[in-house]
Amino acid sequence: MTVGTARGAPAEAPQAANRSETYDWEAIRELPEYRRLVERRRRFVARGTAIALGTLAIFTALVSFARDAMATELVGGITLALALGVGEMLLTAALGAAYVRIARRDYEPLERAVVAAAERTGAVR
């Protein structure tokens, strides 16, 4: 593993690379490809956040207000609280993995399509 070679040459004066291009941001926003990208991403993030926040809120409420029930021992010294806590962590990891997978499959091609369309229509010059 080598830090520093993922993109070869070190970046020079950062903004210079982009100065030759001009962008019409409003026009890019109106592109159908862009609409689709934003819509898809928003839908997944809204659902994923709802699941993550919802379960986290339930977990927090349970450990705060249902202490006796949460102290129920399931197997040996493993309590309901412990099982739910570990379960919430596993769910968090699963949601993260789902996002990355969908991003690679759906969002990255759409991002490239937006760039191509923007160049085709003259929104990026």
């Binding site: 830090v3 982009n18 102290a71 962590m89 990891a93 990255e108 991002e111």
Partner: protein, 519 residues
């Protein structure tokens, strides 16, 4: 247990420090520009960055602090872990890619993108400085405790020594070297954490249900040790800690800064994912280590851990290696402590880097010199800031003493970050009408509310009997985060001033697609 075995741990310490310093020197030879120094030339890969983020997380606050909290209080320590892991989902879903696409060096770049830059940068730099100083305090405490335990010198010199070492890394290194060192140390800590976990499992005969039962045997009340209620006596305390961790982690300046070092938004996304997986795995190990320590350690060994529990993991390592005075115990203790110490050094280095960025890039180059500062001048200010933060951090740490659990202190810092930074950051990315007045008001409201409430809370309020404290909760997040959001709303709705030159459309398109992002 300490005095007789100073030579071995000292030499392990020296070897770890020497190796990482050599790397730091070697990596930083071609460091000339501010982009190199503050953002590693935007050349870090997703896995490397994920490891570096994990390195920040699995050292003092988790490995030392949470292991100790679980050892002392049982399940309530796990609540910290659940809250903290959620933060990486927030980073992944909302912040990582957008930050990389929009920003340059600091969080304030994103905040100020379409707002008037000088007021926003000035306030963001102040909040970054407050957060960094608080977090440096917590990390220096961990580093100094390890050093004190192992080498047997007093607390105050240990703090000063740790801060001095940190400065050496900052001066030589910059962001690329910090990343390198963090990657190596994170890998080492993950490997040794796994080894310790394995040793615990062997010790308890792979009987996890039995291990938890044994862990509760020494507790006053089994139900509140294996279930909730051992640490957070009031329900609002647990909720507040979850809010602070879930929102604050995602708003820490040094974590946000890491997302500017990667090549593009895909790598930013991958680094958040790697961080989530690595840290999640380590958190599961910490659960086993904390309860395992309670099941395995005898009363005599528990004495070395300290009332705040911070030394649980190293003492457990010594016990698993064969106990105090045995060669195996000494070696395992020395290695675990040295690796943890090294990770802490890299964390404070990263923190000081983000403070340097805030002062040099935001305050000096953009506010004082109005974008007219040369690269060399920016670098000079960055290094001066590092010295100032190191001195302030060491001073605060010595003044605070070693009576606080590290995780408890970190939770307070996260509460400040969640209150001051997160509302403005999220609203500037998502709300078209959000304006400069909203950002400035929101950050000031959140910062002042969280700092004042911490000062009025039971653990900090002066006097032995904390019952008299004016604010009842030990963590203010549940109150101060809403205050931060209200500040953003009020400021935005009450101000009519028009905004900076860049539009919400530019921010949105850039953050969504990466068009126009810095390479």
């Amino acid at each position: 247990m300490i005095a007789a075995v100073q030579a071995l741990p000292l030499s392990v310490f020296a070897v770890v420090v020497a190796i990482t310093l050599t790397i730091t020197w070697w990596v930083s030879r071609r460091q000339r520009t501010a982009s190199e120094y503050l953002a590693a030339g935007r050349s870090i890969s997703g896995l490397q960055n994920g490891l570096a983020i994990a390195g920040e997380y699995v050292s003092a606050s988790t490995f030392l602090g949470v292991t100790g909290l679980i050892f002392l209080f049982g399940f309530d320590g796990v609540i910290y872990l659940v809250g903290a892991l959620s933060a990486f989902l927030l980073l992944l879903f909302v912040l990582a890619e957008r930050l990389r696409n929009v920003g340059e060096y600091t969080m304030a770049d994103v905040l100020a993108f379409r707002l008037r830059r000088r007021p926003v940068r000035a306030v963001a730099a102040v909040s970054t400085l407050v957060i960094v100083c608080g977090y440096v305090l917590a990390q220096l405490l961990g580093g100094a405790l390890l050093f004190e335990t192992l080498v047997g010198i007093d607390f105050a010199p240990a703090v000063i020594f740790t801060a001095a070492l940190m400065l050496i890394y900052v001066f030589f290194g910059g962001m690329r070297a910090t990343t390198w060192v963090q990657v190596i140390k994170a890998s080492l800590l993950l490997v040794f954490g796994a080894l310790l976990t394995l040793l615990v499992l062997i010790e308890v005969g792979f009987d996890l249900p039995g291990m938890f039962s044994d862990a509760a045997a020494g507790a006053d009340d089994t139900a509140s040790y294996l279930g909730p209620g051992g640490l957070f006596t009031r329900p609002a305390d647990a909720i507040s800690v979850v809010v602070a961790y879930a929102l604050g982690t995602a708003a820490m300046p040094h974590v946000l800064m890491r997302f500017f070092t990667v090549t593009d938004s895909q790598q930013a996304r991958r680094s958040a994912q790697w961080a989530l997986v690595l840290i999640g795995g380590f958190f599961l190990m910490v659960v086993v280590l904390g309860f395992g320590a309670a099941a395995i350690l005898s009363k005599g060994e528990a004495g070395a851990i300290g009332t705040a529990g911070n030394m649980t993991a190293p003492v457990l390592a010594e016990s698993l290696g064969g106990g105090a005075e045995s060669t195996g115990g000494d070696i395992l203790l020395a290695v675990i402590a040295a690796v943890t110490f090294a990770t802490i050094l890299a964390v404070v280095t990263g923190l000081v880097m983000s403070a340097s960025g805030a002062v040099a890039h935001d305050l000096w180059a953009n506010v004082v010199r109005r974008g007219d500062a040369s690269d060399a001048e920016t670098l000079r200010v960055a290094r001066l800031t590092a010295v100032a933060v190191a001195i302030a951090g060491a001073g605060f740490t010595i003044a605070a003493g070693k009576g606080f659990n590290i995780t408890f202190l970190v939770a307070l810092v996260f509460a400040i970050a969640a209150s001051a930074n997160l509302p403005a950051l999220v609203m500037s990315l998502a709300w078209r009408r959000f304006n400069t007045a909203g950002a400035v008001t929101g950050m000031i409201f959140g910062l002042v509310a969280s700092v004042v409430l911490i000062g009025l809370s039971p653990p900090i309020w002066p006097g032995a009997d904390s019952e008299g404290a004016p604010f009842a909760l030990s963590n203010p997040a549940i109150v101060s985060v809403p205050i931060g959001f209200v500040g953003c709303l009020l400021g935005t709705l009450l101000s009519r001033r028009s905004e900076g030159e860049r539009s919400f459309a530019e921010l949105e398109v850039r953050s969504q697609t990466g068009i126009g992002a810095l390479r």
